[in-house]
């Protein structure tokens, strides 16, 4: 089968062309196991024609771009880091609990290791002693990664505007801020679903755009004998590496 590269926003003509090529690939449909005993005869794919065939194909075959498919997959399978600091962690537990079930959306795989996680939910107040540690955890996470600041204490200073706390966006680029003290589990879910929508619709609208932090992509160590930057997947145009973390 030939794979047709589909333009980003396909105009009518392109769509039509694709449909025609799909309709023409009756090979695909003819060889399928649709002659089950329970299938009424008029629905057997090989015998469909014209409009019915078109509808049949619409219902079963999805065409999309690779980027969109990857964004869809990424957004539906965040692996949150099992990281709770204070009271918001209790509500995070409840978001993962039986009533407000985070597993409905696919996010129940809380990973303990930052290397395996891609979403850090800062649940709780960030003290000055903890901030460098959180930064280190965030740095250990692999691209692409997102950060949700849960609760008032890490988004702004919350109830405690004093010497001991640091608002999270001073040392960590945050994608979604969830207000509340503590936010209800539904509130946290709303925030995470907003993140999901962000990732699905516009995977490029991450923190790098908002903070104008180009040149901060993760630079993997040079493989032996390979060209420099060969493993640099995050940067699409192969920027000259300037550093791997944004300044404090």
């Amino acid at each position: 089968m030939r794979r047709e590269p589909l333009a980003q926003d396909a105009g009518g003509a392109d769509q039509r062309r694709l449909l025609v090529s799909q309709l023409n690939s009756r090979q695909l449909l003819r060889g399928s196991e649709l002659h089950g005993i329970n299938q009424p005869a008029h629905l057997r794919a090989a015998e469909l024609e014209g409009d019915e065939l078109e509808r049949y194909v619409h219902e079963r075959v999805l065409t999309t771009s690779l980027d969109k498919a990857v964004a869809w997959a990424r957004s539906n399978s965040f692996f949150p880091l099992a990281f709770g600091l204070a009271c918001c962690a209790m509500e995070q537990f409840h978001a993962a609990g039986p009533r407000m079930d985070i597993a409905r959306f696919g996010y129940e795989a809380f990973r303990a290791s930052p290397r395996q996680a891609d979403l850090i939910i800062l649940a709780g107040r960030v003290s000055i002693k903890m901030a460098p540690i959180i930064r280190r955890l965030y740095d250990q996470m692999l691209e692409p990664k997102w950060a949700v600041s849960m609760g008032a204490c890490c988004s702004s200073m919350g109830v405690f505007n004093n010497y001991a706390l640091v608002p999270a966006d001073k040392f960590l680029p945050i994608d979604v801020y969830v207000p509340g003290c503590p936010p209800r589990p539904e509130g946290l879910m709303h925030g995470i679903l907003k993140l999901r929508k962000m990732v699905q619709d516009d995977p490029d609208l991450g923190w790098r755009e908002r903070y104008q932090a180009r040149g901060t992509e993760e630079i993997l160590p040079e493989p032996h004998g390979g060209p420099p930057g060969a493993a640099d997947i995050a940067s699409p145009e192969g920027d000259t590496p300037e550093g791997d973390t944004p300044g404090a």
């Binding site: 000055i128 002693k129 200073m157 505007n161 004093n162 010497y163 001991a164 706390l165 001073k170 903070y211």
Partner: protein, 183 residues
């Protein structure tokens, strides 16, 4: 809580006991007794804290609930260290309070065992907290370092003249200057 007369009796006993020993020259350890809202407080001399606590332990107050600090700024002596004692057998509480000057506040630690008797192991982390928050140095504490603030922090946050700190609240008029995150 010992009632007012009970408190005076304890204070008298302490004065008598301490006054008769080799420390007789330096006077009585108890400077004041306060009976407030049904609870008794003994104000004592800072040098005698271990002796007084040991005596109270013999009298039955064997459980040290809490060691915490107070700052009376601007009154001098400004730093106070408060010891809360509990007698479980008679359900009796008594408070022992010590006042120290703000310049070089030093006091014997009640945590380690010394020649004058066993110490109070519960005072370990609590004295470190008083040191961290107020700057009171506990002589003889084997591991006196900061417990709540980072190790290299400067300043003692709970002193009254230490600023509360914090971020300026970002409104529209100061959002460009106030917040440090740009955009």
């Amino acid at each position: 809580m010992p009632d007012a007369t009970g408190l005076e009796l304890i204070a008298q006993e302490l004065r008598a006991a301490e006054g008769a020993g080799p420390q007789a020259a330096t006077g009585s350890p108890v400077t004041d007794t306060i009976f407030f809202r049904g609870r008794g407080t003994l104000m004592i001399e800072p040098e005698r804290v271990r002796a007084v606590l040991a005596r109270l332990r013999e009298r039955g107050y064997r459980f040290l609930c809490s060691v915490h600090g107070v700052d009376h700024h601007p009154h001098e002596p400004r730093l106070g260290v408060v010891y809360e004692l509990l007698d479980m057998a008679r359900v009796d509480r008594i408070t022992v309070k010590v006042l120290l000057h703000g310049d070089e506040p030093e006091i014997d630690s009640v945590y380690p065992d010394g020649e004058d008797g066993p110490g109070w192991p519960t005072a370990d982390h609590q004295e470190r907290e008083v040191y961290d928050m107020f700057g009171v140095v506990f002589r003889g504490h084997p591991d006196l370092r900061r417990i709540l603030m980072p190790e290299d922090y400067e300043g003692h946050p709970l002193r009254r003249d230490f600023p509360v700190g914090g971020e300026p609240v970002t409104f529209t008029f100061n959002e460009r200057s106030a917040s440090g995150t740009g955009a």
